[in-house]
C-alpha cells in the first residue's frame, strides 16, 4: 500500500485545463518537490489534494483510502496539513491562539490544546512572538506561523506551498532547517518552491509540471538535467 498517490488529476476552470492528467506517488518519510514555472498548476494541485477545489476527474489516495470526495476539514483530520502560498493568518488573534485553534483538531480541552500549541510553537521557533497579534508579524514570521498551524494539526503529510518566498538569506536558511527538522520528526512533505537551490538541496525526489502537465520526475540531479525542464524554465535556446 502506497502512502500517498495522486492518480490522473484533472482540473478544468471553464475551458482551461489548469491541471491535466498529473499523477505522482509520495513515499513515507521523503521530501517530495513539486516545481514548474508560474501558472503551471502547482498550487492548483495542492488545492485539489486538500479539496479546496473539486477535481474534474482523477483520484487521490492517502493511506489506502480515496479522499477526493471528502471535505477539506476531514482531509485535515485524516492527517494532511497544508500551508497557503498567500498566507492566511487569523489576523486579530495572537500567534499562540492561532496555533491553539489548529491544536483543537487533535485535542478537546483548553489545557491540552494550549500544551500542544506551545510545543508546536517551540518546535517552529515562534516562542519570541507567541503573544503578538498575527497581523503585526512580518512576512517571515507569518510563513512560519503557517507551518506551525499546519503542524499543530499533527499531520503525517504536510503540503508546503512556497514557504520560502519573500525571505532574506538568513531567514531562508532557518526555513530550510525547519523543513528538514519536520521531515526528521517523521512527517512526509510535499513542497512547492520557486527558489531552485532550496528545492534541489532538500528534496529527495522532484516532480516537474508545465501547463498543467507532467514534464519530468526523478532525483534533483535527473530533473535539473532534463531538457523539458530546462526548456520550460529558460526557453528553447538553452535546451
Amino acid at each position: 500500500m502506497s502512502f500517498f498517490r495522486a492518480e490522473n488529476l484533472v482540473k478544468y476552470f471553464g475551458g482551461l485545463a489548469a491541471v491535466n492528467n498529473v499523477s505522482f506517488e509520495v513515499h513515507q518519510g521523503e521530501i517530495f518537490g513539486l516545481i514548474g514555472p508560474n501558472g503551471s498548476g502547482k498550487t492548483t494541485t495542492f488545492n485539489l489534494i486538500s479539496r479546496y477545489h473539486r477535481l474534474t476527474s482523477g483520484r487521490v489516495i492517502f493511506k489506502g483510502q480515496e479522499i477526493q470526495h471528502l471535505p477539506t476539514y476531514k482531509i485535515c483530520r485524516l492527517g494532511i496539513g497544508r500551508t497557503f502560498q498567500v498566507v492566511k493568518p487569523l489576523r486579530r488573534m495572537s500567534v499562540l491562539d492561532n496555533v491553539i485553534v489548529a491544536a483543537f483538531a487533535r485535542v478537546n480541552t483548553m489545557r491540552e490544546a494550549r500544551e500542544l500549541a506551545l510545543q508546536t510553537i517551540e518546535f517552529c521557533g515562534l516562542l519570541p512572538v507567541q503573544n503578538l497579534l498575527a497581523k503585526s508579524l512580518p512576512i517571515a514570521w507569518r510563513k512560519r506561523l503557517e507551518i506551525a498551524r499546519a503542524m499543530a494539526t499533527r499531520p503525517s503529510l504536510l503540503l508546503l506551498d512556497e514557504t520560502s518566498a519573500g525571505l532574506n538569506p538568513t531567514e531562508l536558511l532557518q526555513a530550510i532547517d525547519l523543513i528538514k527538522k519536520i521531515r526528521d520528526n517523521g512527517t512526509t512533505i510535499i513542497i512547492i518552491e520557486h527558489i531552485m537551490h532550496v528545492i534541489m538541496s532538500i528534496s529527495d525526489r522532484i516532480h516537474a509540471i508545465n501547463f498543467g502537465q507532467t514534464i519530468a520526475e526523478g532525483t534533483p540531479q535527473e530533473v535539473a538535467q532534463n531538457n523539458a525542464v530546462i526548456e520550460a524554465y529558460l526557453g528553447t535556446d538553452y535546451a
Binding site: 492566511k88 493568518p89 487569523l90 485553534v101
Partner: protein, 334 residues
C-alpha cells in the same frame, strides 16, 4: 478575580436597585436594558465572534414572542412555559435558515437575514386566523408588579452572559473567531465551518427567542410591526453591538445601557430641561423644541453611533484601553 470585580459590583447593584428605587418608571427602564443585554449578546455571538452579521435579529425575537403569545392565546398554556418554547422556536426558524444561507458570503448573508425579518413580519400580518394579523395578540399579564419581571430578566441576562463567556473561552469560541478571521484557513485546520456557524447561530437565536417570549409576557401585547420591527429591533441590535464593542463579552451590555439612556434622555426632553426653560421664559419656542427633541430619540442614538464609529471603531469596550490612555494623558497635561 479582579477581572470579575466590576461585573460583580454591577450585578449586586442590579439586584438591590428595585428594592431601593421603587418608582416603576426606572424599574421599567432597567428591565428593557437587561432585555437588550440578552438580545445584544446573542447578536454579538454570531456577528462579533463568528463574523456573520445579522440584520434581521427581530425575526428570532418575534418568533420567540409569537411562540409564547400564541400558546397562551390559543391553548391557554402559561406564557412562562411558552418562554422555553420561544427559545426553541427561534432556533427552529434559525436552523433551516442558516443551513441554506451560510453558503452566502459577507453582505449576502446579512441581506438574507434582512429578508427573513421582512418575510416573517408579513407572514405574521397575513396569517390572521393564527396570529390575529395587525390586531396583535393580547394576553393577561401574570403579575401586576414589575418586580417579578425584573428578577426573571435579571436571571436571564446573567445566564446569557455566563453562556457567552463559557462559549467564547472554550474550543467553540476559538473556532468561531477563526471562522470570522479566515474561513478557508479555519477549514484547512480541520474545522467543519458550516457546522460551527450553525452552532453559533443556534445558541444566539435561542437567547433572542427567549428574550422575545419574555417581552410577550412582560408587555402583554404584541403585533407584527412591534416584534418584527426592522428599525427598533434588528437595526438596534446591530447598533447596540457597534457602540458597546463587537466581539467583546460586556460590549453589548454597555451598548444596551447607552441606547436606553440616550433614548430616555431625548424622550424626556433632556430630562425636562426644555420644558423648564419654556416655563421660565414663557417662550413658546422652547416648548416646541421640546416636542421635537422628544421625537428625535432615534436620531440622537444615530448621532452617537456615528461618533463612536469615527472615534472608537472597536466600540467602547473594545477600545477601552484607548479611552483610558486618552483620559490619563488629559489629566497629565492639565
Amino acid at each position: 478575580m479582579k477581572k470579575n470585580l466590576y461585573p460583580m459590583i454591577f450585578l449586586i447593584a442590579l439586584i438591590v436597585f428595585p428594592l431601593v428605587l421603587r418608582q416603576e418608571y426606572y424599574q421599567h427602564l432597567i428591565i428593557l436594558f437587561m432585555m437588550w443585554v440578552v438580545i445584544g449578546s446573542s447578536w454579538n455571538l454570531l456577528a462579533g465572534y463568528t463574523g456573520r452579521v445579522s440584520f434581521g435579529h427581530a425575526a428570532f425575537f418575534g418568533s420567540g414572542a409569537y411562540a409564547a403569545g400564541l400558546l397562551a392565546y390559543h391553548y391557554g398554556i402559561s406564557p412562562w412555559w411558552g418562554m422555553a418554547t420561544g427559545g426553541l422556536l427561534a432556533t427552529a426558524v434559525a436552523f433551516p435558515f442558516g443551513w441554506i444561507t451560510f453558503r452566502l458570503h459577507g453582505a449576502y448573508f446579512a441581506l438574507a437575514t434582512l429578508a427573513l425579518n421582512e418575510v416573517l413580519k408579513d407572514a405574521a400580518k397575513i396569517a390572521e386566523p393564527l396570529t390575529n394579523g395587525m390586531v396583535g395578540i393580547l394576553i393577561m399579564p401574570t403579575f401586576s408588579s414589575k418586580l417579578p419581571y425584573y428578577y426573571i430578566i435579571l436571571v436571564m441576562m446573567v445566564l446569557t452572559i455566563l453562556c457567552m463567556r463559557l462559549t467564547v473561552r472554550s474550543k467553540l469560541g476559538y473556532y468561531f473567531v477563526s471562522i470570522r478571521e479566515d474561513q478557508d484557513a479555519a477549514e484547512s485546520m480541520g474545522i467543519n465551518t458550516t457546522r460551527y456557524k450553525m452552532i453559533s447561530l443556534c445558541i444566539g437565536t435561542f437567547w433572542t427567542g427567549l428574550a422575545g417570549a419574555f417581552y410577550m409576557n412582560y408587555m402583554g401585547f404584541i403585533d407584527p410591526s412591534v416584534v418584527f420591527s426592522l428599525q427598533d429591533l434588528s437595526i438596534a441590535a446591530v447598533l447596540v453591538g457597534i457602540v458597546g464593542g463587537v466581539g467583546t463579552i460586556y460590549g453589548p451590555a454597555v451598548g444596551a445601557f447607552i441606547m436606553i439612556a440616550v433614548q430616555e434622555f431625548f424622550r424626556s426632553g433632556f430630562f425636562g430641561l426644555f420644558k423648564y426653560f419654556g416655563d421660565k421664559t414663557g417662550s413658546g419656542a422652547f416648548t416646541t423644541l421640546s416636542e421635537f427633541v422628544k421625537s428625535a430619540h432615534t436620531l440622537g442614538f444615530g448621532l452617537l453611533v456615528i461618533l463612536v464609529i469615527l472615534l472608537l471603531p472597536n466600540g467602547i469596550v473594545g477600545d477601552w484601553t484607548k479611552i483610558k490612555t486618552k483620559l490619563f494623558r488629559m489629566k497629565v497635561t492639565t
